[in-house]
């Protein structure tokens, strides 16, 4: 489940499910662990974006440490999406989390070097990011591998699109990534992490439109189907936001793995 440093863009359905924990990333993370039984959390810093709230690196590091102290869940830590800031931010986070097994992201074509260097120094994994394309995904893996990141420390986010907003495109790209890996292309043999919280950016997931049924329930369906697309096409891990989505996916994954019957 993802945990944000700044909840101001959360849709109403998620906000009400999180209650006042949305304001406190450490409590939010603990609830992911104890109440909603997520396998891991992904701490994101949209508030660090220089075009937005521009939270300082020191402040972000302190917040990260408070989250880390309060949970035993494995942590992904993502930046704000602005590569220049993320390079510095994730370097600081990596140093603060030395000795922990973090996964740092997202390492894109421009800012990957400082993230990869920090992760290598501190024993962390890196999540490479590529923009919806098999060749770009492969190129990102090659860049990180050439830089010295070991296969055991390398993950890839191939960019998941939301239901209704190009989901079919990502479904096919991820299927092709997985098929390429199974056919022996070593530069595609990386675990895939798909961020399905993009579902909440779809207007159809959050807007009050009576003809389309109840809004909060529609949002959870939206996120569940987006995550199911990732799982069926080849994702090894999915990141979601609504506690109810987690419950449904856990049940679905268990049932998918049920013995032949």
């Amino acid at each position: 489940m993802d945990v944000l440093d700044d909840p101001s863009d959360l849709p109403a359905a998620v906000r009400s499910a999180l209650e006042d924990r949305a304001e406190d990333p450490a409590r939010w993370t603990r609830a992911c662990q104890d109440e909603w039984e997520a396998d891991a959390c992904c701490l994101k810093f949209p508030g660090a974006n220089p075009e937005g709230r521009n939270r300082s690196i020191e402040e972000c590091s302190a917040l990260f440490e408070s989250v880390l102290r309060g949970t035993s869940l494995p942590l992904f830590v993502y930046g704000c999406g602005q590569e220049a800031k993320d390079a510095k931010l994730l370097e600081a986070i990596s140093n603060a989390g030395a000795g922990e097994r973090l996964a740092l992201g997202l390492a894109g074509e421009e800012g990957y070097k400082s993230i990869a260097a920090a992760s290598m120094a501190n024993g962390h994994a890196v999540v490479g990011f590529s923009n919806l394309d098999v060749n770009l995904a492969k190129q990102m893996v090659i860049l990180l591998t050439d830089f010295g990141v070991q296969p055991a420390n390398l993950l890839l986010d191939p960019l998941q699109a939301a239901l209704g907003m190009g989901i079919e495109y990502t479904y096919s790209v991820i299927e092709r990534l997985r098929l390429g890996a199974l056919q022996g292309d070593s530069m595609l043999q990386v675990p895939l992490v798909c961020d399905c919280t993009c579902a909440w950016t779809a207007r159809e997931a959050t807007e009050e439109i009576p003809a389309l049924g109840e809004t909060a329930a529609r949002g959870v369906h939206w996120e569940t189907f987006t995550a199911l697309s990732a799982l069926l096409s080849g994702a090894d891990a999915v990141i979601v936001r609504h506690p109810e989505t987690v419950g449904r996916l856990r049940a679905a994954i268990a049932d998918l793995q049920a013995a032949e019957g």
């Binding site: 209704g164 989901i167 079919e168 495109y169 389309l212 679905a252």
Partner: protein, 448 residues
């Protein structure tokens, strides 16, 4: 389709030329490429004819049901993965109603099903079919429910009973709307097969507990001469569903295993995993999905998913060109343009919404290409932008006198400014820069 050599073996090998092709081998090669038809050869034996026709049949049969105005087509798929070509026939989503429901409730449920439709990006999405289930085990309530459903409109019907005499009477009630018979089990196959043949209606094969039982049942139905069959798969767990659906599709398209060369049907119970099961069937080869319970929001999400997965990956996904308003823009609001590749449109409009600045967004017809690709391919030109400004009467609503263009096509600003008689403002190169850009842009006065 068999290879030329396989066909050649079945031909007379006399090189008579009566088919207007000099040799039998040349004829076989043309046949393998579907350039000629087997009927051109007057000498081919009946046995060879049958063998060839059978092997030339599509890997999965096309099955149609529903009346003329709402006919549904299922099956006739050729791929395991949509990126290999496309998926052709969208999963049919239907609702199941039991004939044990009290009359008023039954009527209300039928009405709910008839009303279950939405318009999304110009297409009507709706619940496709209504399945009436003979839960009572008796004839009279079943016939009453079938009558009520067929009188309520033209929704295609699926008749769910395994009692042949009941099915026969229900068929007579609904014959005009070509219902799907559901169906035949290992026990009632002879009677149901006879009814399906007499009425020419498609028949579902039910009750198999494993794929081998299903193959056996399909083999028997085929030997009775039935062509339009549908295979019901047991849906015990998601894992089994996924394995069975994949095995059936793979056997049909990869090894031409004929008993599995038919569309599939899944009747889902109302469990909490019903939602995920239905979506899984849309992704993974389900032809008909029957739901016991559904809400409007679930149906909308499911139909959206189906619309997405069954788009043709060979055709760029497009949005309709035109002038879109985001927020509630007025004459002095910013005016932007972008291409009609739908992923670009979705990204740009989401970023504009993030800015919370009411904006006019002109979507130029670039034949579904992205901004950069369209610019390079001469699909996004000064002329096409000017034409869009005129066609969609942009000047009637936007008086700001400024046009914001994507940063990556800043090169067109000079000529575009002259041709459009607007001052050109070069916007950010990436859509993600729009929120900041728009907030600053909207805050300063326009130049005109």
């Amino acid at each position: 389709m068999p290879t030329a050599m396989e066909i050649y073996k079945l031909l007379p090998k006399t090189n008579c030329g009566d088919c207007h092709v000099p040799t039998c081998l040349a004829f076989a090669m043309q046949l393998a490429n579907r350039k000629v038809s087997l009927s051109e050869c007057p000498h081919v034996g009946a046995e060879a004819k049958q063998a060839l026709e059978e092997s030339a049949a599509p890997p999965i049969a096309l099955v149609k049901f529903g009346g003329a105005d709402r006919a549904l087509s299922i099956g006739d798929e050729t791929q395991l993965f949509r990126h290999e070509k496309t998926f052709y026939h969208p999963t049919v989503i239907g609702a199941v109603l039991d004939d044990t429901l009290p009359e008023a409730q039954l009527k209300a449920e039928i009405e709910k099903a008839v009303q279950a439709s939405f318009v999304r990006v110009g297409q009507t999405l709706r619940l496709d079919a209504l399945a009436i289930r003979n839960a009572s085990g008796e004839e009279a309530p079943f016939l009453a429910a079938v009558r009520a459903a067929s009188e309520a409109g033209n929704l295609p019907l699926i008749l769910m009973t395994t009692t042949t005499s009941t099915m026969e009477r229900a068929t007579a009630l609904a014959a005009a709307s070509r219902p799907l018979l559901c169906g035949a089990t290992a026990e009632n196959l002879p009677g149901m097969a006879k009814l399906a043949k007499e009425t020419g209606l498609p028949l579902v094969l039910r009750g198999a507990r494993s794929l081998s039982e299903l193959a056996e049942l399909a083999g028997s139905a085929r030997s009775q001469g039935l062509k339009e069959l549908v295979l019901e798969l047991p849906a015990k767990s998601l894992g089994q569903m996924l394995r069975d659906l994949t095995a059936v599709r793979r056997a049909a398209v990869k090894t031409q295993f004929r008993p599995f060369g038919y569309p599939t049907l899944l009747a889902l119970d109302g469990s909490s995993l019903g939602e995920v099961s239905a979506a899984l069937a849309v992704f993974k080869y389900g032809s008909v999905v029957l739901l016991e319970r559904y809400t409007r929001e679930l149906l909308y999400a499911l139909l959206t998913l189906r619309q997405n997965i069954f788009t043709d990956p060979q055709v760029p996904i497009q949005v309709k060109p035109g002038l879109y308003s985001i927020g509630d823009p007025g004459p002095n609001s910013p005016l932007l343009f972008t291409c009609n590749f739908s992923l670009t449109y979705f990204t740009v409009s989401a970023d504009i919404e993030k800015a919370k600045v009411p904006t006019w967004l002109l979507v130029v017809d670039t034949e579904g290409l992205s901004v950069m690709t369209a610019f390079a391919a001469n699909k996004l030109t000064v002329e096409s932008v000017v034409k869009a400004l005129e066609t969609y009467k942009v000047r009637e609503v936007s008086h700001r006198g400024e046009l914001v263009i994507p940063g990556i096509v800043s090169r067109m600003s000079g000529k575009l400014g002259e041709a459009a008689e607007l001052s050109i403002v070069v916007g950010p190169r990436e859509s993600s820069g729009l929120p900041k850009f728009l907030r600053e842009f909207a805050a300063r006065p326009s130049t005109s």
